[in-house]
C-alpha cells in the first residue's frame, strides 16, 4: 500500500535527558499516514524512549510532538482514543484469560458492549488465538503471549499503532503470523510505527525507516534509498580457471570496480552500487567464452550500512 503524504506523527527537535545521559538528542522525524514506519536501532538507541515520549508518557526536555496535526499531551484523550500501543514486553493481566485481557483493554476504548464483543472476536481471529481464549497468560508459549500482547493493543482498531519490538524471542511461526498481521493492519488503514533491531523485518515490512543510534536519527528513507546512500560496494565472487590477462586488465580498468583479486581460480570483485554489477561481469565472461564454476554476489544490507555509519553491529550479540 502506498502511503499518502498526510503526516500522522511529527516529532520536532525532541530532546530527552536522563541526568547526564542524552537519550534523545534533537530528534526530528515525520511519519506519514498509512505507512509502516520502521525505527531501527540497536538496544539502547532510544527507540522505546522515543515512543514513550511521543505518547507523552515520558516527560521530555525539549521539542514538540504532534499526532494527526494536534499537539500530543498526557491529557489528549481524544488522540489516545485513536492510538494502540503494543509494548516491548508482554503486558497483560496474569489473572485474566486471553479473552478477558483483550476484552479489558478493548473496553478502555470502546463503550458499546456489542461493538466491543465483535472487535474482541475479530482480534482473536486476527492473531490466531481462537483455541486459547480460556487460557491464562501463564499457560501460553512465548509466541502466543506476544500475539496476545498484540491483540490487546489492536483490538479497538486504532488509526495509529506503536509496535515496540513485537517479535523479540518469538518462534518463526509466531513471528510470521505477527508480520502478516502487521501487513494486514496497514491494509485496513492503520499507520504503524514498528521498532525493531531485526533489519530483515524492516526490509520486508516497512515502507520507510529511520536508523537510530544514541538518540539520533542517522538516516531516513526506504531500505533501497538508505542502502544506495551508502558508499558500500557489491561483492562478487566467481570460481573460474584460466582467466586471460587481458580480461583481468579490462576489469581493472573499469572505474566501477574498486577492488579485484584473482588467485587459484577464485576471482573476487568489489563493484560500486549501480555500476557494472554481476550481470555485466557474467556478460563479459560469456563474450570471452569463459564459464565460471560458481558465482555468488553479496549486496550491502542495512546491517552493513549501519555498521558503516556507526561502526557497530545492529543485531544483539546473543
Amino acid at each position: 500500500m502506498k502511503a499518502n503524504r498526510e503526516v500522522a506523527v511529527k516529532v520536532d527537535n525532541l530532546v530527552k535527558r536522563y541526568k547526564e545521559l542524552v537519550a534523545i538528542d534533537h530528534l526530528s522525524l515525520e511519519i506519514y499516514q498509512g505507512e509502516i514506519f520502521g525505527l531501527l536501532g540497536p538496544n539502547g538507541s532510544g527507540k522505546s524512549t522515543l515512543i514513550n515520549s511521543i505518547l507523552s508518557l515520558l516527560k521530555y526536555d525539549q521539542g514538540e510532538v504532534e499526532i494527526f496535526g494536534q499537539k500530543m499531551k498526557p491529557t489528549a484523550y481524544d488522540l489516545k482514543q485513536q492510538i494502540g500501543l503494543v509494548p516491548q514486553e508482554p503486558t497483560v493481566y496474569e489473572e485474566l484469560t486471553v479473552y478477558g485481557n483483550i476484552d479489558y483493554f478493548c473496553g478502555l476504548y470502546i463503550k458499546d458492549k456489542t461493538e466491543r464483543q465483535a472487535l474482541v472476536e475479530e482480534a482473536i481471529e486476527f492473531t490466531g488465538l481462537n483455541d486459547f481464549i480460556k487460557f491464562n497468560p501463564s499457560k501460553l508459549s512465548g509466541g502466543l503471549l506476544r500475539r496476545l500482547n498484540l491483540a490487546c493493543g489492536i483490538a479497538h482498531k486504532p488509526k495509529l499503532i506503536f509496535l515496540d519490538e513485537p517479535t523479540v524471542a518469538v518462534d518463526p511461526q509466531s513471528r510470521n503470523r505477527i508480520l502478516e498481521g502487521v501487513k494486514d493492519l496497514q491494509t485496513q488503514g492503520s499507520t504503524i510505527v514498528y521498532t525493531t533491531h531485526y533489519m530483515e523485518e524492516v526490509e520486508i515490512l516497512c515502507d520507510r525507516l529511520s536508523i537510530l543510534d544514541k538518540g539520533n536519527v542517522l538516516v531516513t528513507g526506504t531500505s533501497a534509498e538508505i542502502i544506495s546512500m551508502s558508499a558500500l560496494d557489491e561483492s562478487i565472487e566467481l570460481e573460474i580457471y584460466g582467466m586471460p590477462d587481458h580480461i583481468l586488465q579490462e576489469l581493472k580498468d573499469n572505474t566501477d570496480i574498486s577492488h579485484l583479486d584473482y588467485q587459484d581460480g577464485r576471482l573476487i570483485i568489489k563493484t560500486k552500487q549501480g555500476g557494472i554489477g554481476l550481470l555485466g561481469i557474467l556478460h563479459l565472461m560469456e563474450e570471452n567464452d569463459l564459464t565460471p564454476i560458481s558465482v555468488s554476489s553479496k549486496k550491502p544490507t542495512l546491517n552493513d550500512v549501519f555498521l558503516e555509519i556507526t561502526g557497530k553491529e545492529l543485531k544483539d550479540n546473543v
Partner: protein, 420 residues
C-alpha cells in the same frame, strides 16, 4: 466504562493467588495462631469459657474483706469449698465463687486446686497467687478488681469532699444539709478528680499510667493490637493499586496510562472494589474473633466504624506511598509489609508494655501510628464508659485518611514521568 473498570479490577484482585494467600488466608491463620498461642492449645475456647473463677479471699483487714465480699456478692456466690468437688455450675450470672479464709487456709485451697487464685483483701488489693487460671480469666479478674478499686476511690473522694465541705462550713454541719449549688459544685469537682484519676489508670498509651500488672489487661491488649494490625494490613493493596495504573512502575501500568482513561477515574475504579472487599474482610475477621469467644466489648457499631476507618487509612497510606515515591515495586512491597509490623509492635502486639515506652520516649509516634490509634480506640471502647477518647481516635484516623487521600491525589496528578 467505569463499570467495565470496576468489573475487571475486582476480577484481577480476586483471581490473584498471592492476594488470596496474603490478604485473605494469612490474616485468618494469623489470628488463629495468635489465639492458640495465647490460649490453651488442647482446648483453646476454655480460655474464654464462662465457668466461674474460684477465689480464696484472705481477710487481713476485716473492713476491706467485708467490702470486697459485698461487691463480689453482686457477681458471684460464696462457698467454694463445699462445691469444689461437685459439678461445675453453668449459671451465666455467676462469674465468681469465693471463700473467705486466712492465709494458711487459702494456700491449702490452692494446693487442693479448689481455687484458682488467692486475693488479699487489703488496701490496695493484691492477687497473691494463681493456679490453673487461663490468661483470659486472669485478665478478667484483674479488670474486675481494678473496677472495684476505682469504685472504692470514687466513694472515698465523694466522702472526703463532703466532709471537708462540712468542716469548712460549720453552719452546714449543724444543719446537716448542703444547698443544691454546693452539692453540684462538689459533684462536678469530684467528677473531674475521678476522671483524671481514671484516665491515668486505664490509659496504657500514656506514660503517666500506673504501670502495675493490675492496671492493664495484657491479653486483650494483644488482641486489640492484633485486630488493629489486621485492619491496617491491606497497606500493600494500596501500593499495588497504584502500581497497576502508573506508567513508570509496571507494564500494565504503562499500558493503562496510554489509554484514553484519566488516571483519577482509573484510580477510583481500582480502589473502590478493593476498599470494599477489605472493609468487609476486616469485619469478617472481627466476627471470627467473636466466634472464637474473645469478647472485645459490646460497642459493636463503634468497633465496626473504627475498623472500617482503620482499613481505609491503610489502603490510602498505601496509595500515597505508591503515588509519591518512585522507588521500585519490590521495595514498596517491602515497606508495605514492614510498616504494619513496626506500627503493631509499637502498639503492643508483641509486648504489651511497648505503647507506654513509646509514650515515654517518642510520644509523637503514638499520635501518628494508625495501628496504635485503632488499638487505642478499641481499648477505650472496652475500658472507658465515655466515648470522649474513642472519638479522639476516630478524629485522628479521619485526619490520617484526609492527609493520605490528598497526597494520593497530588501524586496522581503526574501524568508523565521522568523515566519509565
Amino acid at each position: 466504562m467505569f463499570k467495565h473498570l470496576l468489573k475487571y479490577s475486582s476480577k484481577v484482585y480476586f483471581y490473584n493467588k498471592a492476594n488470596m494467600m496474603w490478604n485473605f488466608i494469612f490474616p485468618f491463620v494469623f489470628i488463629s495462631v495468635f489465639f492458640l498461642a495465647l490460649g490453651n492449645f488442647k482446648d483453646p475456647t476454655a480460655e474464654f469459657s464462662k465457668d466461674p473463677i474460684k477465689l480464696a479471699i484472705i481477710a487481713s483487714d476485716q473492713q476491706e474483706a467485708d467490702n470486697l465480699t459485698e461487691f463480689l456478692g453482686y457477681f458471684g456466690e460464696e462457698g467454694i469449698a463445699e462445691q469444689a468437688k461437685s459439678t461445675e455450675t453453668s449459671s451465666d450470672d455467676v462469674f465468681f465463687k469465693y471463700q473467705l479464709t486466712n492465709a494458711e487456709g487459702a494456700d491449702q485451697l490452692l494446693e487442693d486446686q479448689a481455687v484458682q487464685a488467692i486475693v488479699k483483701a487489703s488496701n490496695p488489693i493484691e492477687i497473691l497467687a494463681y493456679n490453673d487460671l487461663s490468661k483470659v480469666k486472669s485478665s478478667l479478674l484483674n479488670q474486675f478488681l481494678e473496677s472495684y478499686e476505682s469504685i472504692c476511690k470514687t466513694t472515698t473522694v465523694i466522702g472526703d469532699r463532703y466532709i471537708n465541705e462540712k468542716l469548712s462550713n460549720p453552719e452546714n454541719l449543724s444543719n446537716s444539709q448542703l444547698n443544691k449549688q454546693d452539692i453540684n459544685t462538689i459533684i462536678e469537682q469530684t467528677k473531674m478528680d475521678l476522671k483524671a484519676k481514671h484516665e491515668d489508670t486505664i490509659d496504657i498509651f500514656s506514660d503517666k499510667s500506673e504501670s502495675t500488672e493490675l492496671s492493664t489487661s495484657p491479653l486483650l491488649i494483644y488482641f486489640f493490637a492484633c485486630l488493629a494490625y489486621i485492619a491496617f494490613y491491606p497497606l500493600n493493596t494500596g501500593v499495588t493499586t497504584l502500581t497497576e495504573i502508573t506508567a513508570n512502575q509496571t507494564g500494565v501500568g504503562l499500558r493503562n496510562s496510554a489509554t484514553p482513561i484519566s488516571k483519577t477515574k482509573m484510580f477510583f475504579a481500582v480502589f473502590i472494589p478493593r476498599w470494599i472487599i477489605h472493609c468487609i474482610f476486616t469485619l469478617a475477621i472481627y466476627l471470627y474473633i467473636n466466634l472464637l469467644g474473645i469478647n472485645l466489648g459490646n460497642n459493636y457499631l463503634q468497633i465496626i466504624v473504627l475498623l472500617i476507618l482503620g482499613t481505609t487509612s491503610a489502603i490510602l497510606t498505601g496509595t500515597a506511598i505508591g503515588a509519591l515515591f518512585n522507588f521500585n515495586t519490590g521495595l514498596k512491597m517491602g515497606i508495605s509489609i514492614a510498616l504494619p509490623l513496626v506500627f503493631s509492635f509499637a502498639s503492643g502486639m508483641m509486648y504489651n508494655g511497648m505503647p507506654r515506652i513509646i509514650a515515654q520516649y517518642i510520644p509523637w509516634f503514638n499520635k501518628m501510628n494508625p495501628i496504635g490509634i485503632i488499638s487505642k480506640g478499641l481499648y477505650m471502647l472496652y475500658s472507658d464508659p465515655t466515648f470522649t477518647r474513642f472519638n479522639q481516635q476516630i478524629f485522628s484516623l479521619l485526619i490520617i485518611i484526609g492527609i493520605m487521600f490528598i497526597l494520593t491525589i497530588f501524586g496522581l496528578r503526574r501524568n508523565s514521568y521522568e523515566s519509565i
